[in-house]
Symmetry: C2
Subunit: 335 residues, 2 copies
DNA sequence: CCGGTTTACTTAACCGATTAAGTAAATAAA
DNA sequence: TTTATTTACTTAATCGGTTAAGTAAACCGG
């Protein structure tokens, strides 16, 4: 039993497909009596318009795409939650792509999307990022909102107060007595990474601390590599405070400290950007800068739908505030 | 500048659209010379066939849907990773829906999907589950593979050895000296929940322990409710071991024990089904039954693509093995 | 050299909706 | 009463591909 088509409705009701189509759209051209008959039959047969036919004609899919670096990360998982919530409310479908921080994959996905598949795009750009030409190509072709990880050419975006957060985190460590504060940097090519680094640097200056370049660790997505760098940091440089710009590096710190017998927060205090919901259950519980991930997703989606509705690119970029949550990993007196 | 259509290619090359279409599909009806010309032009103009037009004609979208209860959960996040990997390899798109454990939402999504939007479905069913009629409706209409959370009428599924895992976990607690072993039950209406409970019961029996019904806590998705039940459990029933059938209940145990000054693993030992990747960083580190979540997603997707390719519903259901990882929360001598 | 087959195309129908343009009947305005 | 307008439809074109059916030219065996 094939799906119900508009033609079947029309034949049953002895009407033309045009009439049925218009009736279903509640057009003023159609009499109330006819509309009633059409609605009734459509409902009773559970008629669902074929999305391909509709999409072909309307050049609209009621679908938006989300491109993320990864999903097994609390920040992105929560962000998707926010995005999905808005999409569902608006009756949109959500297609998901994971770039795994490969801009090559990202470019592949975007090429696909430009093939008129989706009405809009939400993206948090991948990091391995040298080549942004695929992102430039989007401009004017596909309504796009960047969130968290933006790039320089992005028109619309929702971000966090990353500079301020990193500043605050660094200052917090200073106030806890740290004088050799290390910064675990990542996402160097992206605005978000840069802002966090700058916040750290600015805080150092305001605290009257000299910048020691060897305290800045440029991390990557290569875990072994990061581990080696952290080992070196903890063994040789021996900072008394660490600002980690992402969650996974903080975890790596914990493991490294465990291995080396370095105690947290006794020997070194740690604060990390993180949306780990079990941060307070860690040993020791982790002081975090927690981004409003769900809200970021929600706001980014809201912005996109606004653009789609008004059919223009006018919207105000948003900056949401992260929160510094102090826990044991930066405790002054060890419990 | 609108998108390139097949007609434009045809006009440029002074061919019919039929020829171009066939050439692009590498049809034997078309000469090599012509194919070459077509491919070259298509490539140089970055021609992308309109997916609506194609879908309309072929009744195929190259898209599969995934319906999950939630995403901010390590198990599902990892499962999606596996699914996405396979989908990308097969050139399929992935539409995601979150039921938030509401079968009403789930039914709404499924109704949508039955409107010929997608080629197949991967689903882990929602729990609030009394009414499964929307799942019954799928049968024969939409190729579907259930994973982890199946339901009784499911034809194809990928699951875990949940009975065995719960059995093993319970026995592990027994071997660690526990004699009052509590079971935190959830997903009672679903096979997975039932299997876990049965595994627990079976282990009790084999260990020669009497079943004390008040040790079985029927939890829900209401956090406050669960918390109250756990408070009661810890204060009044005072078990010396707990098997938690999901991650979030284990976390709640940790919080509850913290509140009540109950020590883990001293006063009570805990083992939980969990894919928390920071389980080993918790205080104390958590003994887990860890499901191969990525693999489950991957296998479920593989099964679905097999069904789609062969255009039948023949595939062998899979049962993947979870792993019991012993950590401090079930340590016999406190470290 | 002729009928039959193969090759390499083209023509046209089709997928299922939307919508511009057309039309007959009813109603209103002159 | 006649014309203009409104109402409530229908017809047909269209979106951009796919594919069954048709065709002219080349090829081929007897």
């Amino acid at each position: 039993m094939g799906e119900i088509t508009i033609r079947q409705l029309a034949e049953t009701l002895k009407l033309s497909t045009a009439t049925v189509s218009k009736a279903l759209q509640n057009s003023h051209e159609i009499s109330e009596a006819t509309k009633g008959r059409v609605f009734e039959l459509a409902k009773s047969l559970n008629y669902r318009p074929n999305p391909f036919a509709r999409g072909l004609r309307r050049h609209k899919s009621n679908t938006i795409a989300v491109i993320l670096p990864e999903i097994a990360d609390n920040f992105f998982a929560q962000a998707i939650n926010g995005i999905e919530e808005m999409a569902r409310q608006q009756g949109y479908h959500l297609i998901i792509y994971l770039s795994h921080d490969s801009s090559e994959r990202e470019a592949f996905f975007i090429n696909d999307l430009l093939g008129r598949y989706v009405d809009g795009l939400l993206i948090s750009v991948s990091f391995d990022g040298i080549d942004f030409t695929h992102l430039d190509e989007i401009q004017g072709k596909l309504p796009t909102v960047f969130f968290d990880r933006t790039y320089s050419g992005s028109l619309l975006h929702v971000t966090n107060n990353d500079f301020e957060s990193a500043y605050q985190a660094t200052k917090h460590l200073f106030e806890c007595g740290c004088r050799q504060i290390s910064f675990l940097s990542i996402l160097q090519g992206l605005e978000v990474g840069n802002q966090r680094l700058q916040g750290y640097l600015s805080a150092l200056q305001d605290c009257g601390l000299m910048l020691n370049p060897s305290l800045i660790i440029n991390c990557s997505n290569n875990k072994d590599d990061n581990q080696a760098k952290l080992q070196h940091l903890m063994k040789v440089i021996k900072p008394d405070g660490i600002v980690s710009s992402v969650e996974k590096l903080a975890k790596l710190c914990y493991y490294t400290c465990n291995d080396l017998g370095i105690t947290i927060p006794g020997d070194v205090k740690i604060v990390s950007f993180s949306n780990l919901d079990s941060a307070s259950l860690l040993n020791p519980s982790l002081t975090t800068i927690t981004q409003p991930a769900y809200e970021i997703g929600k706001q980014a989606a809201t912005m996109l739908f606004k653009v789609l509705k008004n059919n223009n690119y006018e919207a105000e970029n948003m900056v949401l505030r992260s929160e510094l949550i102090k826990r044991q990993s930066t405790n002054v007196s060890v419990v």
